[in-house]
């Protein structure tokens, strides 16, 4: 077991785990199926939030035209590709080399131009890349070894007035039962060990960290699973998955 170095938000074990999952990540019927089913609801939130703040029309096929967006922890591109199709100019960063390799191949097959970089959020800050109109960080912070530093990086990568959208899992009894016991053990929807409940961050903890780095939380929503449609929908129930918007001062 390798130890995380103090200068990174990464947990090496997590990176290795995601390296191994990378090949099947894009398969909607593979081990990442729940993420595929959740993606429309996450993207609806991201799109509507960014259109609300920066303009555009949700009926258009390119509502995010002219926005520079960074997706932190982009994996093989499940969020970066839709953002690019919606017209944004997208940078994706992920610590797994394998993920980035697959993301590049996949985007090329889709005729999409996306700037993919292997590394963590800190590597972009150090490289002087930044001033993004929006940063997305979806289902990432629960895998980070240093959530505080991650949020500091996200704030640093945004331009003033820029929008952060972050989603993760709440730390509640419900999230333990649903996200760990049911999803990983009983239903087998995600590989066991995908999540560690102790690492989950509550919306209040998240908001507190954000405030410390000049990010003002403006919206928090939850997700409900609708079994009849096998789909996730945005809801007011934040006891398991939640998604929030914060604006950089």
């Amino acid at each position: 077991m390798s130890k995380t170095s103090p200068a990174t938000t990464l947990d090496r074990d997590e990176v290795v785990r995601f390296d191994e999952l990378a090949d099947s990540f894009w398969d909607p019927h593979g081990p990442m199926r729940p993420l595929h089913r959740m993606n429309p609801a996450r993207l609806t939130f991201v799109r509507d939030t960014l259109v609300g703040r920066h303009g555009g029309s949700t009926a258009s096929l390119r509502p995010l035209e002219d926005l520079r967006i960074l997706d932190v922890g982009c994996g093989p591109g499940l969020v970066a590709e839709p953002l690019a199709r919606m017209g944004a100019s997208v940078t994706g960063v992920d610590p797994s080399e394998r993920n980035i390799e697959i993301a590049r191949t996949h985007a090329a097959a889709m005729d999409l131009a996306i700037d993919y970089r292997a590394g963590d959020s800190g590597s972009l800050v150090r490289a002087g890349i930044g001033s993004f109109d929006a940063v997305t960080c979806l289902e990432v912070i629960e895998h980070s070894a240093d959530p505080d530093m991650l949020i500091a990086d996200l704030a640093a990568l945004l331009r003033p007035g820029g929008t952060l959208v972050l989603s993760t899992l709440n730390r509640t009894a419900a999230s333990f039962l649903k996200a760990i016991l049911a999803v990983e053990y009983l239903l087998g929807w995600l590989p066991r060990g995908t999540h560690s409940w102790k690492r989950f961050v509550t919306p209040a903890e998240c908001a507190r960290m954000m405030r410390a780095f000049g990010l003002r939380v403006s919206d928090v929503q939850g997700f409900d699973y609708a079994p009849a449609r096998d789909a996730f929908v945005l809801s007011r129930n934040r006891d398991t998955n939640y998604i929030m918007t914060a604006i950089r001062d």
């Binding site: 019927h29 429309p40 258009s60 096929l61 590709e81 690019a84 199709r85 996949h106 889709m110």
Partner: protein, 408 residues
């Protein structure tokens, strides 16, 4: 309609520029998505009368879809409303009368000549600069990878897209080329189709009669004209099609009676073998089957194109919802959702139309009695009557937005 050079990547490729393919192209093209249609015939030929003398029954749900995509105004003047439907057996007690005023103000459906519908579709497609038509052209080769499908056409074009919709009808060559199996069932019947003029007005009444040798339908058209759709056992049908025009009309008059006065033939007669075709799957990697290519049903209930348009409305809705979120419209999630949504509806109509045909194509006394009792029961049970009417109007089931009269 954009001409060459074609854009490098389309959001949707459609093979088959018939009624179904063009409707799908317009629905998706109106979203702002780029669509390419590959059609073997020049479009002018498709819209000419000699190409297709048939008529199509358009249910209320289908009319809403055509309104929603701006096509209906181009055909409304030539559409005849069906106000009443009379279904039953001649010389029996069993007769059901469906009256549209029992379920609302809207007609039960409309009868429109296919060439009128094609013309309206071609005009609407031509007005969209997102729709590229490759015609006349056929698919020469198909390559699929994880993210797209690429087609080489006989006219030299190469098209690349997120997915391919097969709208070629029940004898789809592309379905076969892709290795998607299809079960076929020949009804051993020929469908005979023609237009008749009559002395008296039809009053918007559609008549469906079940003779022991096959069903016979008379559908109201504009003016004092009706279209007949007559399914007959193949041997008998050949005898009937061999009759000269006068003898043919006399045979129809004999079956139909003189309720509309003297009948006379208008235009040519057509006949084609009736076959049930049912594809093993609605989808394959980067491929969706739509309309008759997925399953072609018996024309007895006038539901074939309505079923196809429910495919179109469902697929267009999935494509719209996904593309507005930047999601791939042709990946496994999208196609899986489409297949799951359409499977039951298609199966139900195959079973119902097949069942009706078998039930009535039989002259055994007990079956005949059961039919009469069944029809009489429906005729005397308004809720049952209303249910069948709403079903025929395309208003039952998990309806896509376009079929509910909502925007896509």
């Amino acid at each position: 309609m954009a001409t060459s050079p074609a854009p490098s990547r389309f959001d949707t490729l459609i093979v088959g520029g018939g009624l179904t393919g063009l409707t799908l192209a317009i629905a998706i093209g109106r979203l702002g998505a780029r669509v390419a249609v590959i059609e073997a015939q020049p479009l002018e030929v498709l819209a000419s009368a000699p190409y297709d003398g048939r008529v199509t029954a358009i249910a209320l749900g289908s009319k809403r879809l055509l309104e929603g995509i701006g096509v209906w105004p181009g055909m409304a003047d030539a559409a005849e409303a069906i106000l009443d439907i009379e279904v039953g057996e001649p010389d029996s007690l069993g007769m059901v009368h469906y009256d549209h005023s029992e379920v609302g103000d809207e007609p039960l459906g409309w009868i429109v000549e296919n060439r009128v519908t094609r013309q309206a579709l071609i005009e609407a497609a031509s007005a969209l600069d997102t729709v590229h038509v490759a015609a006349p052209a056929r698919i020469d080769d198909i390559e699929r990878d994880a993210g797209s499908v690429e087609l080489g056409l006989t006219n030299g074009e190469r098209l690349r897209g997120a997915f391919l919709c097969v709208c070629e009808g029940r004898q789809s060559a592309t379905r076969e080329r892709l290795g998607i199996g299809a079960r076929r069932w020949s009804y051993d019947q020929l469908g005979i189709v023609c237009t008749l003029a009559h002395e008296r007005p039809h009053g918007g009444l559609a008549v469906e009669r079940f003779f022991p040798d096959g069903p016979f339908a008379m559908l109201p058209m504009r003016g004092n004209r009706s279209s007949i759709v007559w399914a007959l056992e193949t041997g008998l049908a050949r005898d009937v099609t061999a009759l000269d025009d006068a003898a043919f009309v006399a045979e129809v008059q004999d079956r139909f009676g003189d309720g509309l006065g003297r009948l006379s033939l208008e235009g040519p007669r057509w006949s084609y073998p009736l076959q049930l075709v049912w594809a093993d799957s609605y989808v394959a990697d980067r491929v969706a089957l739509v309309g008759d290519a997925a399953r072609g049903i018996h024309p007895i209930a006038g539901q074939g194109w309505n079923l196809a348009l429910r495919d179109v409305a469902a697929l267009a809705e999935i494509v719209a919802d996904r593309m507005r979120l930047g999601l791939d419209p042709g990946d496994g999630t999208a196609l899986g959702d489409y297949a799951a949504w359409r499977r039951f509806d298609g199966l139900a109509l195959v079973a119902v139309t097949d069942g009706i045909n078998r039930l009535f194509a039989n002259d055994l006394a007990p079956l005949r009695l059961a039919r009469e009792l069944g029809l009489a029961a429906v005729d005397h049970t308004p809720p049952a009557r209303r249910f069948f009417m709403r079903h025929a109007m395309g208003l039952v089931g998990d309806l896509p937005r376009l079929m509910r009269g909502e925007a896509l």
